[in-house]
Symmetry: C2
Subunit: 430 residues, 2 copies
Amino acid sequence: MVDIATRVYNHKWKIDPIVRSLIDTDFYKLLMCQSVFRNKPDTHVSFSIINRSTDIRLADLIDEGELREQLDHIRSLSLARGESTWLRGNTFYGKRQMFRPDFMEWFENLRLPPYYLEQRDGQYELTFEGRWPEVMLWEIPALAVMMELRSRAVLERLGKFELQVLYARAMTKLWEKVERLKPLDQLKVADFGTRRRHSFLWQDWCVQAMMEGLGNKFIGTSNCLIAMRHDIEAIGTNAHELPMVYAALAETDDDLRQAPYKVLADWHEEHSGNLRIILPDTYGTEGFLRNAPDWLAGWTGIRIDSGDPAEGAETAIRWWQERGEDPRQKLIIFSDGLDVDLIHDLYDRFQGRAKISFGWGTLLTNDFRGLVPDDGLAPFSLVCKAVSANGRPTVKLSDNPMKAMGPEDEIARYKRVFGVGEQVAREVVV
Amino acid sequence: MVDIATRVYNHKWKIDPIVRSLIDTDFYKLLMCQSVFRNKPDTHVSFSIINRSTDIRLADLIDEGELREQLDHIRSLSLARGESTWLRGNTFYGKRQMFRPDFMEWFENLRLPPYYLEQRDGQYELTFEGRWPEVMLWEIPALAVMMELRSRAVLERLGKFELQVLYARAMTKLWEKVERLKPLDQLKVADFGTRRRHSFLWQDWCVQAMMEGLGNKFIGTSNCLIAMRHDIEAIGTNAHELPMVYAALAETDDDLRQAPYKVLADWHEEHSGNLRIILPDTYGTEGFLRNAPDWLAGWTGIRIDSGDPAEGAETAIRWWQERGEDPRQKLIIFSDGLDVDLIHDLYDRFQGRAKISFGWGTLLTNDFRGLVPDDGLAPFSLVCKAVSANGRPTVKLSDNPMKAMGPEDEIARYKRVFGVGEQVAREVVV
């Protein structure tokens, strides 16, 4: 039987919205948002979409009108009652009432602020400006919209069975990955793929496939909406935007040097246990750890998000040992450029030497490489970053110079202040 | 929205019927049935299911109660009004009213006769007895039921995503075949896969994928129900059961020797053009062609269904040349054990030397090889054959001794009568 009502209802949509909920975003965004809401609510920031894969001319692929419709739709969203209930009532990282009542009240009344969109050289310049807690929530939906509109533009040309076979191939590919991960007895892997996903429905499928295929080796997803729907853990802690904005706000070089630690001091006050995860690479991991206050060594773990991940993990282990900590009690989260081979390698090398887990992103939720002609669905490197705070440019160095961001003179200044020397460039695939 | 009514309705089915229509059968069965209905209506025949793949213990896999339910369901079917309209009104092979009114009236009132089911040595002995025009219609649905119940028994153990990935893999596999066939410019290929299909829905998917992927290189399906639903050509002419039963009815060796030609003489009266296709291998192709009357060389084509197909085609081409016919005006239909490699080889060798087409069966609609552990879904060689006519055993020799059937002494007699010498054995995969 055709469900006539459903069919008619579906035809009433003016668009097929990509982001349909304010919690279709990464969990750490909400954690950070609450922190910012408390500590830096009036900071004025700009976020910009940056396409590192300049050969992919998004403005040629994606219709500007469709992009505006999707972004306008996101601006029409507000927190649904059930979503609010879930955020208020759920246990996150073993803690009840993770989100404070004042934050929830603010969030319930939030609409995302305006966006600014222009085309230049075949790319979209998409910028968000305003109060930090509001603007920062644009990052994930903006990326998801750009990624999925690009997918749709490519899929547009395919026939019905070509489409079905395309997804059949993608499913097969993912399942083969799941099967290769099964033998890793102590594996803990989470979905970190919201921002670069092929599409919402595809991410949702990937999560469900991991649930069935990996059982309790799959520990959750960074995506709040998907976590809520499937009653699984929402995963995530904090990201580069905190040290980047704190650093931009620093008045002196000395303040700048302390900014990354100030971020974690604020975090330390708010969170405990598995939420105390160091993200050390914003201005170079080596220097960050060398100069870190002792209390940081007491934190639960570290997230390795750039540079050679094995080297990063060895550095962390050495650092804990130097500070008299037992690395086997520490958690190392790998979250950069993961795919099955790399997960296997890192697992083999570090399992037993530390607790380890994997935040698997782009190549979980967007591995359509090789599936259409000219590789038109291959994932690409799109980011949405804080580019200024209170009128000052932000800077990111990371452990990979290919991922560095900011004006050249500021990059030089940051390198000097943080004592960053030569860095090894690694190709940024995704 | 969940369509509540559909869901409730689905739960009302006592079983999930595999065969839901009397025209979910091969087109040639109906053509032959009409011929038998006219020429031999009162012949009493037995048909039996024979599992040539004895290592697959069907009685261990398939529950007898479920098998009986499926067979009982088939006995409850009668020709639907729309099906009758289609058979009466459609053009088959360019001809209107292919099915005569007296036959249609009989068919509209038909219910399939009883079946006899026993278990022996891990296999089912499934037999049908009665008037030939009725009993013969059991062949295809009985095979389809056995095949699909076996699939279901294996699929029973899989999880939801394992199932989805299984079909994703099967779709990918088929589509890769379609893509490999696309470059063959003059290709003509039909679906002959009803009897050995993985399931009805899967055959239906395969046909639709071929329609989209191959366009007019896909010339139709042997399955009447699927042809009707998708408004494509129903394909097929005649099969071994005609010469086998005619031969069994022969009173003398001389009658026996003539029986295969008598079949085609009857066919000649009824059909013209592309329906005049010789099936020469029932008692050995060489002898059949050598002794054939001249009028047979005037027929449109030949179907190669056993033995080395290239050799069979060369034999046919030589024979036409000897009889003063131009092979380039003749049609060679390959229908035995085809898959993409073999189709490519035969196409390369014979395209241009004759008109050629392919009736692609088991490895189109049931190539699940390698997709589950222990290869539990690999196709196997199940047939349903006329085993006796008016109390006398039938015999088939074919061009492959592995496909020979019948009592040993009768096989010896047939070999003598038809002058069949040494034959090369070829493994029967499917």
